[in-house]
Symmetry: C2
Subunit: 158 residues, 2 copies
């Protein structure tokens, strides 16, 4: 009605791009294909230079691997695709506040000193943490490969 700001999602844009990029890279790595930053940005519909920065974070955190030079690009090893959980990507980019922090921003919020929404948020944080901890890159990538899941919008004008 009279809000101030554009809408705010669960994760930062950087994190959204990071997750989508990781999944795209994983779908190609299983076929033995390295993908360059141009392909990544094009496929997940993200700004290329910004996406490159995020790839650097993911690379430094050991989530994806990069190779310079001709035939280089980004990849994820078969073992990594199986072992990497969504939470590792979120942690690397957005940190743990989304599933650990107080819902209304108290620096100190605990069972002994709870904020008014502490108990309600505990369930949500718990479910989010469980989901992030259980979901592997492989699960997500296989859904994309099978055509069940998508990494960008259908509408070309978005």
């Amino acid at each position: 009605m009279y809000g101030i700001k554009s809408l705010k999602g669960m994760f930062s844009k950087a994190c959204e791009y990071g997750i989508r990029a990781s999944i795209f890279i994983a779908t190609n790595s299983s076929k033995g294909i390295r993908v360059g930053i141009k392909d990544v940005a094009k496929e997940i519909d993200s700004p290329e230079p910004f996406t490159a920065k995020i790839m650097q974070i993911l690379t430094k955190n050991g989530i994806i691997h990069s190779a310079k030079g001709v035939g280089g690009g980004f990849e994820v090893s078969d073992e990594a695709v199986k072992s990497i959980k969504l939470i590792q990507i979120v942690d690397a980019i957005d940190g743990d506040k989304i599933y650990k922090g107080c819902g209304i921003g108290l620096k100190e919020c605990s069972e002994d000193h709870p904020c008014p929404v502490h108990h309600e948020f505990k369930k949500i944080r718990g479910l989010l943490l469980e989901m992030l901890t259980k979901t592997t890159l492989e699960q997500l990538a296989s859904g994309v490969k099978s055509g069940d899941f998508f990494l960008k919008t259908l509408n070309i004008n978005d």
Copy 2:
């Protein structure tokens, strides 16, 4: 490890302040007391001018009521305290993306065209929506009045 950003919570800071402020105002309105912006900011430990802006949004959205002049300040009517749900505050300040939007930022994400985390996020969004829809300002305020819940940190140096 090598992240870029400060930690990002579920809601914006504006929304966190808005929720805390609404609860504080409600705890006083039940005692028939109007509170000024100074008291609000002091009690919820927030920047006063920024908090004033957020109060304006809440007022325009009919969540709280304001009175200018001597003896003025912010209040919430008894009926409003009972009927207002957390979701109204969140909607007014942050919008509905947190409980409606795609987890990884696709503009079009639905049952027919799901992103890779669509089904997992559905549960979390649903739980969050349920909680926001069910929780009233009264519930939160009564916990603060009884001393069970807190609106700011214990530690004076935070």
